[in-house]
Symmetry: C2
Subunit: 281 residues, 2 copies
């Protein structure tokens, strides 16, 4: 998915939000916003938002020397999600359709996103998403693919959401490879975050080799691309991965909440919708 013009103000909004985590020095923040302002016109808007976002976050790191501004935020949400784990497990255990409940919980976890503009209340949003209709529901195709495949490639998104991914992975009947970002970017899950969430107990964790806030295939490592190209079933979590992969074909299933108008428009659903959608399906 190419960047939309609406992404333009949003890059500044994201940069401001991130800079405020790093410093209270308004001059320093303005300096970084100005640097981004001078750089954006040089970038191609034919790129995906996640590629442009990567450049924006690079400027922030380079100008401030802070590699992981969301470190504390990520820890907080992993801890909060872990504190919900056993209750959510009970919910799955007592549900009539374990897999669908786990899928919905995995989507609910996708609200823990500091790249998007949407505010969230984790407990409240979980309850909503458990009963919300899927605006795109390719679950039957997903179940069919799940039956046929021998393994699953699961593309992680945000830290904290990782714990919800773990609950879904525990319901999946096939071995799972869980892909994380190669470096910290926004609150996206890295290797360390995946391990803190207990994903190492239920999946093989791999780095995508990509440090953008979403999978961008041309930035991924050759090792990861081999896994990606040979995967018979891919679960792609969240907006960033959707942005990078929306034009790919194959057995990719996007699992996300459309938190911004751009993504909602691109998918063709209302903002706030939840989807389980097959790529080009």
């Amino acid at each position: 998915m190419k960047a939309y013009l609406d992404c333009y103000p949003c890059f500044f909004r994201q940069a401001l939000k991130t800079m405020r985590l790093i410093t209270q020095d308004e001059k320093k923040i303005l300096e970084v916003l100005n640097q981004i302002s001078l750089t954006l016109p040089k970038l191609s808007f034919e790129a995906t938002p996640t590629e442009i976002g990567r450049q924006v976050y690079k400027i922030i790191s380079e100008k401030t020397g802070v590699i992981d501004p969301y470190k504390a935020v990520k820890k907080k949400y992993i801890d909060q999600a872990l504190s919900f784990y056993s209750d959510l497990k009970k919910l799955i255990n007592s549900s009539q359709d374990r897999l669908m409940t786990a899928i919905r919980l995995a989507i609910a976890g996708n609200i823990i996103d500091f790249g998007s503009d949407a505010d969230f209340d984790l407990e409240e949003d979980i309850q909503k998403i458990l009963i919300q209709d899927l605006a795109v529901d390719h679950s039957q195709q997903f179940y069919d693919a799940l039956e046929k495949t021998e393994s699953i490639l699961y593309l992680g998104d945000n830290a904290g959401e990782t714990v919800f991914d773990r609950l879904l992975i525990e319901e999946l009947p096939k071995p799972v490879i869980y892909a994380v970002r190669s470096k910290p970017v926004i609150n996206d899950a890295t290797w360390e975050d995946a391990v803190s969430s207990g994903l190492n107990k239920v999946a093989e964790i791999v780095s995508s080799g990509c440090d953008a806030p979403g999978i961008v295939l041309k930035l991924c490592s050759s090792e990861f691309l081999e896994i990606f190209r040979s995967a018979a079933l891919i679960i792609s979590k969240g907006q960033g991965n959707y942005e990078g992969l929306s034009e790919e074909k194959g057995s990719i299933f996007f699992l996300l909440k459309a938190k911004c108008s751009v993504i909602a428009h691109d998918i063709g659903v209302k903002e706030g919708s939840i989807v389980l959608m097959k790529a080009n399906g």
Copy 2:
């Protein structure tokens, strides 16, 4: 009030909104956003948002040749407000406190603002504001000043809101000079808009000489500054005028709805609050 860092993304949001009124050509819009992006770092953030906004809208006019992108929008809202006029007049006629009802209606009219990010539903918002508490209520000081003064300077804000201003002016017991922008900027009221709203029947209309989306004294004409400096009572409508005058002293009363977090924070009220507030009072 100096610009806040939160204004930075907002300038791009406003520019995008305005460009979409002018053209559907995405390349042209991107070109203008890029031009703004290259220009913003050269501007001082010690300026008020309305001064920076003025530069942003200048770039739009210069790059597109379109002087008044909100022309149709302004006409639409003046017409809609005029269609409400007689019902609102009846409301004032039947109210226990005519002046306060007219003040509240004048604040309600302030929601017709295309510079701010807030969406509005004119009919619904009027009903809300008629019963909403004033978060800052200097009405007693206002009534005292009203009694003492021989005339009133009324600083207009948006087209359409002008009709609501007229309803308030009809309740004011002293002659009114109504100030408009010197040129079109966003949906702010110009001379023509004031006349279309019938303000010429109830006030003397003057141009401020300023083409920013809010009064900036150093950009006003000497004729207007004379009126301003000698005014014993000034009613200042809306956010743009507040931005330019918030640090002024004197008998200025700000009448507005705080539609964005920056203005709300600066005043010290919650977003969405309505205020009748004396300058430095």
